[in-house]
């Protein structure tokens, strides 16, 4: 296939990295503790401006109508009263010329740029940007209003008179598959969402029936994950302004460049006439990715249309209730069948998953990427229900980690084996054991270290595993509660994809600018970029900065999907810094008589001759006249010291990257106390051990580990969107009734980074940002099982389920 060939060409040229990136520089800033966080002062002082803070002269405020019904159609809509309300400047109706019959892109990028064969979950069913039908409560439809204030816009929405045709709805994905279930999506004849790639629906490796025949023990169980979502601090918003034929957008979005592509396609406006700014972001967690902003939701387009219609800037706003318009993509009901030998060697895993609304991960991937299990089978169905769109939520691997943890902990419990031993017994990749991984590491320049064993040993020691581990339901504490202990593991997945570009420029005073748009996502990535550039150039961290908000300079960092941040962008800034260094030294050589550039080096911002270090000049002395622009008659100029580069990391769009096994592992441990009279579960201790390959910014690594833990515990213990079975209306669309954990809900958290150098990222690094919040939630069930001796496989694990498992409710 042509596109695949293109990837192979990139791989051949070294753009697609499979070899270890062995460090060739001395680390001064990289890995250093105590570095001042680049965005710290602005954020901590309250000076940071977020998208929702943006104010423009003459700006109007826009609000969209949301469906009050779980499934309904507009029979008639009268906007006369709303239009007459003083302060209302424009209303766009579903039947208006601006939007009639216009669909959202339905694609992660843009349909015209997506190869259906490789698109995978990038292509979704399409629906109108502003339709007359809703199939979940809270779905935008009908009308959008621009007015002088939010209050007036809200009042105008209330004045719209609508005659609804209320239709039957369905909330459960298995119910939605039944023949008599109401079909939700207009024009569809089934709730089963057609998947563009049939291979995702059914994945088979080896022969599961043979695997079951070889097993000493076979178990079967059901599990379910109920809906949860992003629930970030900053609510969705967008600001739009037209300048003649050009459009400016201030977006609350984690992939602004791809948002620009989508807007361009929808408005049929050249990308060169669109400016997109992504200021500080009060949250994302995937919820501010393209799907939520552009594929599922027309808010950016509607703001642009209203702005064009009124000739004024428009800020379109969502409120907290409206932000509950979608869920994490692991709304799933799953059946598992697992076979294993007595010693813990798993011989076969078979799973059948039914996902609600839409999802991009099938549940089996981590068994393939991460184990030696030879026989695997996965069947996945995706079904529309009367709930908002499901997408990634830090991150799309949730179904994979959910299935992975539950299978391993269930089978270890069934065999009465230590789960850490079962993990080590099955570690590997693509059906091959750890011996293959060792060989791969040696052949590709990686250290031959056993990442999983190192993580497990560090974690066991930290939590006191050998002293505390006990059979299920056997340890009652002095306070009357039951004690539980559990372990799970996984590999690290955030070092294998992404693409972007950036430049490094030496300013005329010798300081360094990274030129590259980058959304405010991840913990502190900009600091890490500056650390890399500093060490590659030979300058101090404080001499490097990045101004990441402006997209118009043409360089866009960040991966297309949002998962791979440092491991992709780190290469970009590293390569750009190296190119800039080369230009700088060539320029400097002209100023040292009779010296070749190769004879020069840079340290602490001083360029010197290696053989005679007393011959030295500051970078400023060398570049003072290397002007990036020719706008001063007082200067004679030299070529500016600026270098740009790009990098693509891995085969994005491929569910599996054959031939590139994941090498870094992670191990997680949890202690709980269960009150068997009330069903209350308290997580009293969490130990996270993540092989991050190389910690560029150690504080950032730990920050991600803490942040992931509180989010994981909220997901495991309490986060659940609840819909009224009678009306289909969501009952807890607020942060009082939808329970997000805070750090106060966590007991002690131990964060242990392992630095094995086994990552595919720069200097052997790999990611950590998505791991813990994604892997740890499913660990609660095994911990509760170890406490009370009963499995609870429906998440979140709330007191009602505990009491029911104990026969007390």
């Amino acid at each position: 296939m042509e596109t695949r060939g293109e990837y192979q060409r990139l791989q051949a040229e070294g753009q697609y990295r499979t070899e270890a990136d062995i460090p060739t520089i001395n680390f001064n800033e990289i890995g250093r503790h105590g570095i001042r966080r680049l965005d710290g002062y602005e954020k901590a002082s309250g000076m940071a401006v977020y998208t929702r803070d943006v104010q423009l002269p003459g700006m109007l405020y826009a609000r969209i109508l949301m469906s009050p019904h779980a499934h309904a159609r507009i029979r008639r809509m009268d906007t006369v009263k709303a239009e007459a309300l003083p302060g209302v400047r424009a209303i766009i109706r579903y039947d208006g010329v601006e939007v009639k019959d216009r669909m959202l892109n339905g694609s992660y990028f843009c349909p015209e740029w997506v190869d259906p064969e490789l698109a995978d979950w990038a292509v979704k069913p399409i629906h109108p940007v502003l339709g007359d039908q809703a199939w979940y409560e809270g779905q935008p439809l009908g009308a959008v209003v621009a007015a002088d204030s939010q209050d007036i816009a809200n009042e105008a929405l209330r004045l719209i008179d609508i005659e609804w045709e209320v239709l039957p709805f369905v909330l459960d994905q298995q119910e939605a598959l039944k023949p008599d279930a109401p079909v939700l999506r207009p024009g569809a004849d089934t709730n089963l969402i057609d998947d563009p790639r049939d291979s995702r629906k059914r994945i088979k490796k080896g022969d599961v029936e043979r695997g079951f025949r070889e097993a000493d023990r076979i178990i079967e169980f059901w599990a379910k994950r109920n809906a949860h979502l992003w629930a970030g601090a900053e609510l969705p918003s967008v600001v739009s302004r037209w300048r003649g034929e050009s459009l400016e957008l201030w977006v609350h979005q984690q992939q602004p460049y791809h948002g620009k592509m989508l807007i361009s396609e929808w408005l049929n406006l050249p990308m060169s006439k669109i400016s997109v700014y992504s200021p500080y972001q009060g949250c994302s967690f995937g919820g501010r990715g393209n799907p939520a902003n552009n594929s599922e939701n027309g808010m950016n387009i509607l703001a642009a249309l209203l702005s064009r219609k009124t000739g004024r800037p428009v800020k379109l706003l969502y409120n907290r209730r409206e932000y509950f318009f979608g869920e994490s993509g692991d709304m799933m009901a799953s059946h598992f069948r697992v076979g294993a030998k007595k010693d813990g060697t798993i011989t076969a895993v078979e799973m059948k998953n039914v996902f609600a609304v839409y999802m991009c991960s099938n549940g089996i991937d981590h068994f393939i990427e991460n184990t030696r299990i030879p026989n695997l089978s996965c069947e996945g169905l995706t079904v529309d229900v009367s709930k908002g769109p499901a997408w990634w939520c830090r991150c799309e691997q949730l179904p994979n980690t959910f299935c992975f943890s539950l299978v391993f902990d269930h089978i270890a419990a069934e065999l009465e084996l230590d789960p850490t031993e079962v993990a080590l017994k099955n570690d590997g990749c693509e059906g091959r054991d750890a011996t293959y991984l060792s060989e791969f590491k040696r052949e590709h320049g990686f250290p031959d270290r056993d990442s999983l064993r190192e993580c497990i040993e560090a974690g066991k020691k930290a939590i006191g595993w050998d002293e505390k581990w006990h059979p299920p339901g056997t340890k009652r504490l002095a306070n009357g509660r039951m004690h539980g202990l559990a372990f799970t593991w996984d590999h690290q997945w955030d070092d294998t994809r992404g693409t972007g570009s950036a430049a490094v420029m030496i300013e005329n005073d010798g300081t360094v600018s990274i030129i590259g748009q980058h959304p405010d996502i991840g913990v502190n990535p900009w600091t890490a970029y500056c650390q890399i550039v500093a060490d590659e150039l030979g300058v101090g961290y404080e001499d490097v900065t990045i101004k990441p908000f402006n997209l118009d300079h043409g360089f866009a960092l960040m991966s297309p999907d949002g998962s791979c941040n440092l491991c992709s962008n780190g290469y970009i800034v590293k390569k750009a810094a190296r190119k800039a260094r080369k230009i700088l030294l060539e320029l400097a050589a002209q100023k040292f008589e009779g010296v070749e550039p190769e004879a020069l080096d840079i340290k602490d911002g001083i360029i010197y001759v290696r053989e005679t270090p007393q011959k030295r000049r500051s970078i400023k002395e060398v570049v003072a006249k290397a002007m990036p622009t020719f706008d001063s008659c007082l200067f004679w100029t030299e070529p500016p010291v600026i270098a740009w580069t790009w990098h693509t990391q891995g085969l994005w769009g491929q569910a599996l990257e054959t031939g590139r096994p994941r090498l870094c592992r992670q191990a997680h441990f949890m202690e709980v106390e269960v009150d068997t009279e009330t069903g209350q579960v308290e997580v009293t201790n969490v130990v996270n051990v993540n092989d991050v390959g190389k910690a560029i910014s150690p504080e950032t690594v730990k920050g991600q580990m803490y942040g992931g833990t509180y989010m994981a515990l909220g997901r495991a213990l309490s986060e659940e969107m609840i819909w009224d079975p009678v009306t289909g209306v969501m009952l807890n669309g607020n942060l009082l009734d939808y329970k997000i954990a805070t750090m106060l809900d966590c007991g002690p958290i131990d964060t242990i980074p392992v630095e094995s150098g086994l990552g595919y990222g720069p200097y052997g690094a790999c990611g950590v940002g998505e791991d813990i919040a994604t892997v740890v939630p499913a660990l609660l069930g095994p911990a509760v099982y170890n406490a009370i001796g009963e499995w609870i496989d429906e998440y979140p694990i709330t007191p009602d389920k505990v009491l029911e498992a104990l026969g007390k409710a």
Binding site: D675, E677, T678, G679, Q680, S718, K739, A741, T742, L744, D745, T798, P799, D800, L803, E804, K808, A809
Partner: protein
């Protein structure tokens, strides 16, 4: 900010007050069991009046407090929680 718990006075709103635990008199009040009005557990009171407070009588008070509870389809578990909270609140008064 306080730690979130499914089971505490802010979520279950169980507030048990032994108002005058002298002269053999007691008042057992539970909030949150109806929409507005606190529930007075007369049966629970009887379970402890004149008998002192220990594990046995506190347990009896908990049982008595929910003996005529009528849970709805999705909140049956709250009866068990109310029983426990009542028992513990009584025990906390010793």
């Amino acid at each position: 900010m306080r730690k979130f718990s499914h089971i505490n006075s802010s979520t279950i709103n169980e507030a048990v007050l032994l108002l005058r635990r002298y002269g053999g008199e007691a008042r057992v009040i539970a909030g949150g069991t109806e929409y507005v009005k606190p529930y007075r557990g007369i049966k629970a009171e009887k379970a402890i009046i004149g008998k002192g407070i220990d594990q046995s009588t506190a347990g009896a008070a908990g049982d008595a407090a929910v003996s005529d509870a009528k849970p709805l389809p999705y909140n049956n578990y709250m009866v068990q929680i109310a029983r426990t909270m009542m028992k513990r609140a009584v025990l906390a008064c010793t």
